[in-house]
Symmetry: C2
Subunit: 452 residues, 2 copies
Amino acid sequence: MTETQTQPRPAAQLVDPAVLRVALLGCGTVGSQVARILLEDAGVLAARAGARLELAGIAVRDPDAQRDVELPRGLFSVDAEALVDSADLVVELMGGIEPARSLILRAVRKGASVVTGNKALLAQDGPALFEEADRNNAELSFEAAVAGAIPIIRPIRESLSGDRITRVLGIVNGTTNYILDQMDTTGAAFADALAEAQRLGYAEADPTADVEGHDAAAKAALLATLAFHTPVALEDVRCQGIAGVTAEDIAAAKDSGLVIKLLAIAELVETPDGVEGASVRVHPTLLPREHPLAAVRGAFNAVFVEAENAGELMFYGAGAGGRPTASAIMGDLVSTARRIVAGAPGRTDTATRKLPVLGIEAVTTSYSIGLEVADQLGVLSRVAAVFAEHGVSIEAMRQTLDGGEPGSGEGRAELRFVTHRASEKALAETVADIKNLDVVESVTSVLRVEGV
Amino acid sequence: MTETQTQPRPAAQLVDPAVLRVALLGCGTVGSQVARILLEDAGVLAARAGARLELAGIAVRDPDAQRDVELPRGLFSVDAEALVDSADLVVELMGGIEPARSLILRAVRKGASVVTGNKALLAQDGPALFEEADRNNAELSFEAAVAGAIPIIRPIRESLSGDRITRVLGIVNGTTNYILDQMDTTGAAFADALAEAQRLGYAEADPTADVEGHDAAAKAALLATLAFHTPVALEDVRCQGIAGVTAEDIAAAKDSGLVIKLLAIAELVETPDGVEGASVRVHPTLLPREHPLAAVRGAFNAVFVEAENAGELMFYGAGAGGRPTASAIMGDLVSTARRIVAGAPGRTDTATRKLPVLGIEAVTTSYSIGLEVADQLGVLSRVAAVFAEHGVSIEAMRQTLDGGEPGSGEGRAELRFVTHRASEKALAETVADIKNLDVVESVTSVLRVEGV
């Protein structure tokens, strides 16, 4: 394969446009792939970027550690600060808050642009880092931080920049999607599906960050920040994981033509008194099986976007893994290099307003509610009366009997309700009052429904 | 909703960065929506672009014609050239080759960037127009030209710029996808599904460009040009439409867990003697029902991309319509405005090499072949021998009897073969020889299979 150099571009102000020195911070699963691509595809990348991308060095704690990819020993260094100081472009793949944060600030303050996949850091400090980058005409790119290889940051920031995004629904955590998909396919219980995911390497030994939804919440904050052009922080995200999802929930969903997915949901909402704001949450969600997100199987990710003019869009692909994530890093790197070669300043901060972040109370959605009740005549009518009292309209009901003659009071029944759209407040009050009915033994599940 | 202006950016060289004058050429379904958005969302767009986007005028043939959107009469003009000369940014939505081509050249030659959705023009003259834009530091953006609202051009050009795309499979024509989906869902014949599509406005009175695959071929040429960084012209695309797809083909596909889609396929291939090149084609294609593209229903579009590092990606959404297409135009417009405000020159031509475009002979794929044969003992063995002679390996076979005792020679049988990957040449020879067998009455269908 031969690629010829394109026309030379106007020179950048600060750097030699023929060569851009790239510092790589971290050399794990993703970093080692980035290093490999920079070395293997140097010719092609130079043709596309308009400048040679020279791997200046790789900062690691232990230069002698075993890596996924064999790399020249001379590239490694333990002095990350010196490496940053010598670079035109910095790729940060250390993860965690420090020293990643200080090194990124060090880079942008001297005008070097940074490419990172560090969602934890961005969800905590994104707006401050974006501002600092802009102040120095540097740029902070982070396509790899959400949904791995899937181009979603750039489409939201650029392709949809002339539209009004009203809602983002994302399957942004492969581990939990794998577990829920296994439960759906095999009928397995949560604990067994988790164990299987751990055995296959889809879940870590300590799966908390994935299973409790913390990883998805960080990505939800980033997606909301970009989609609504307003800063949204991790603490603004209401988060519920999948540990409480039972095999019975999955089976009941299946019976109703639904599937349970852990969704990161960011939406523009309006309070009853007309205040517009953003609502951002992560929770297990029932979706109709015909919804495009329902077909996202295994550890794949997908982001579904609703915009005023574009309508419904979906972006699908691998959400993790060394090579896919490295692809996203390389896309940012080549795009940033092109901009530098063109002599344009970076621009990261796209927040053009400060919308209030509204609590989940401002959200209306449909709910699926499961109850265990005594199998007596008149129970349904008493439960239905509670819904009506709180203005929650019932769309569908299904009753399953469990022992005894129907209506004899000897057996038990399970009731599953699906409501029309209702407010979180009305629902919470409904559930509380239903729990107090003497004929109700327990509320077995409350799940939100989207896409209906 | 309030949006505050962001920090002012460094001034562009040629234009007042505070106001960019936008000329709109054409005011049909898409153009009228672009005008509406520019007028309605002026404040939000200014905040995002960093400059006010002022609709300077709309060039139309008949200012008094009825439009989808009510617009101030004073905006209309019949003098497109004068309008172009007064503008910083030109949106071309006239369609067709002339005068669109001359007006785009006029704009870029004076340094004005152009946003267009004109796939016919780009498939014919794209590379020449891209070069002319680059020579003048202008830019030609065309996200709307492929798959309507779906961001696919920008992700390929930027997000995947550090990866090696090996294949693109696209459902890029909503009319044919609607017709095939109807045939699949209802069992309708092609002619009836087409009539229904026309009744509902999904197909035009003269449906040739859609049904024969010409529209998809233009988009395939554009996708290949971008994906492989090499110029690909419309005449390089081998094209077969869907008029020959029968209800029997659809039913047989269904029986085998497959679905028929009209795909635009661009792939990197290698000839037996080691020459790497691009192969670009449009034809009805069998896909497994589990493939992400199989779930694309109705008039929706989707583009499936395979890249060396990113793996499999899919982009899904509305492929046509005034508002969705206008969303893509507006994304290009805001992104271009940001670049101008930042003072950077445009860059359109991303061809970094000149790959040979190889004929379909260089492609290997799986095939599904349907035959009507005499129901005699030994027929299968004679047909199978012909496959073997040409080195085409059979993956699966299914026989359906039609009258008479099995093997008695009184009835007929239909045979459906699915092959392993084989070259187009070996397959063509196999089919020719099978036709010559005295026991074969006819070859009822030859369809390519992807995604298996």
